[in-house]
């Protein structure tokens, strides 16, 4: 058969329908596999302590309970031996408030600063080969070894256990991501589009914000989501640089530990709840991820 015939066949309705079904099935299979640990996590969050490690394991809790969720917000509410044991810390509302203050601010700073710098690096090669690489080295250093020296410095600056302190740390340590990821997306924008705008008399600022920025919206959104996730789930520095006022959600999560070990139920419940804002953010930005553009549409 000639290639033309095969191509014609590929366009036949039957085969494309079959391919479509295969495609959907594959998607469902993949989604299903990805869901398994998450479903297990959800299952644990509704189980009482006696069921957290039993064998044979059961997906549906034998005696489902909402205590794991309730105890997060009202530690005194659940009754009974098992529940009394879970009464280990304050309600989670304060930690959520702290996270909601610190993480979006740090993310916004990081992505903005990183994007601006990335444009200069991508288009003007500022800093040559050294500077962007140097920024990347901030991610190569083991955070553990940096903690105490940074703590000493922060003590001197009186920034321990303050919102600004944590925001600066989160912004600074994710700058490398913001820079490199947005740089990659900026470099994907064909230069001649920008050059055309400059020839038309636009200032570099205008080009940056009205030409390039809309095209890399998707990349920015992805970067922002990733940096948000990194900051939202960060534990080590949150633990070390806060004491009482600025505890974030991951640190609060670590409190659910006690006489019989880690409290998987409440930690699972808090993990589920903590992921909700991130999931919402992820869903919302998807709109920006599939821009796709045509060469013919760059004229404004």
């Amino acid at each position: 058969m000639k290639r033309k015939d095969i191509a014609m066949m590929a366009r036949s309705p039957v085969i494309s329908a079959a391919l479509r079904i295969l495609h959907r099935l594959t998607v469902l299979l993949v989604v299903g596999i990805f869901l398994i640990p998450a479903v297990w996590l959800l299952s644990i969050s509704f189980k009482p302590p006696t069921e957290w490690q039993v064998f044979p394991p059961n997906l549906i809790p034998r005696s489902p309970t909402l205590d794991n969720y309730i105890v997060l917000f009202k530690p005194e509410a659940p009754k009974g031996t098992a529940a009394a044991m879970l009464r280990v810390t304050e309600p989670v509302t304060k930690s959520f408030l702290n996270s909601i203050i610190v993480v979006p601010a740090a993310t916004a700073i990081s992505v903005t600063v990183g994007f601006l710098a990335a444009y200069a690096v991508a288009r003007f090669r500022i800093g040559g080969a050294f500077m962007p690489f140097f920024v990347l080295t901030t991610r190569m250093f083991p955070p553990v070894a940096f903690a105490v020296p940074l703590l000493v410095y922060y003590r001197w600056l009186r920034l321990i256990d303050t919102p600004i302190g944590l925001i600066l740390i989160y912004a600074g340590f994710t700058l490398a991501f913001s820079l490199w990821m947005t740089k990659g997306f900026i470099e994907g924008v064909p230069r001649h589009i920008e050059e055309a705008a400059i020839l038309d008399g636009a200032s570099p600022w205008r080009v940056l914000f009205t030409i390039t920025l809309p095209i890399v919206k998707g990349g920015l959104a992805a970067t922002m989501l990733f940096v948000f996730i990194l900051n939202w789930t960060e534990f080590l520095y949150a633990l070390i640089f806060t004491s009482t006022k600025m505890i974030t959600v991951p640190v609060q999560l670590s409190h659910y530990v006690g006489a019989v070990g880690r409290f998987y139920g409440p930690q699972a419940a808090l993990g589920v709840i903590a992921s909700v804002p991130v999931v919402i953010l992820g869903y919302v930005i998807q709109r920006y991820l599939v821009t796709g553009f045509s060469f013919g549409l760059i004229r404004r």
Binding site: V121, L136, G184, P204
Partner: protein, 305 residues
Amino acid sequence: MRRLVMILKVFPQFLSHEKVFKNLLVLPMQLLLNFLLMPPFAIVIYLAFVNWQPIFGGWTEAPFVGVSNFIRLFSEPRFYEALGRTFVVAIVAVAFEFLLGLGLAVLFSRPFLGRRICTSVILYPMMLPWVVVGFTFYLLFLDHGPVNYVLSSLFGPAGMISWFRNPVPAMTAIIIGDVWQWTPFMFLIFYSALGALPKDPKEAAMTLGANAWQIFRYITFPMIKPVAYVGLVIRALECFKIFDLVYIMTGGGPGVSTETLSLYIYRVAFKYGQLSYAAAVAIIVLLGIALVTRIAVRPLLKEAA
């Protein structure tokens, strides 16, 4: 007064001058990084050349010991074992994450009903706090946990694996956990890269009779290569520092057979309190990774196409 007006008129032009423009753009980043990171890094270097632990007293009075911390590091087998182990884990995990992420992104590249929800599901693992991912996989892979339950249902009791008893199954479980948690990252990178591609070249190729594989290989993939490469480097860097999953699932055990580099440094710094030695280890790790990465990212630092 006239001078002020002149300055005001010239100011926008001044800002648009290329040199001013590009330096102004990087200024915030330089300020932030220099302010935040320089002084502590100086302390780290200082610590690496003294002999100090908190139980010895003040850090400013610690005795200078030259390079003895580094000498100790280079003769420490536990360090080399951790290093080798970490390489293996990082290479295997990142390879899987790259391929799976790419495959998933291609699978999701054409719109279909419920795509947004499915994408949210795929992205979900990244969004959980790492402690939660750690203990979820720990519980899944327990000797008497769900994974073994499924294995024993399929293959009988002989099919059950004691995951944490030996380093190889333990590392496998850890890699599976890491792949679950971070494939979404590669997926996100590829998905947004594919989504940002212009449609014209693809449509042009299709009218010329190219099939899907040819389009992907010769048109699509080259266009997403820069972003893909960045994603790969970033992910590899992060995976090399893998800590959380190992800490929760095995604690580095049995013995130290699953101890990764980050776990080793953590133990030395925070459990044994040897902050000087930890600083020396960290510096060597930094230099090593920087060297390897420098070679790897050379193509990215050259002039873009």
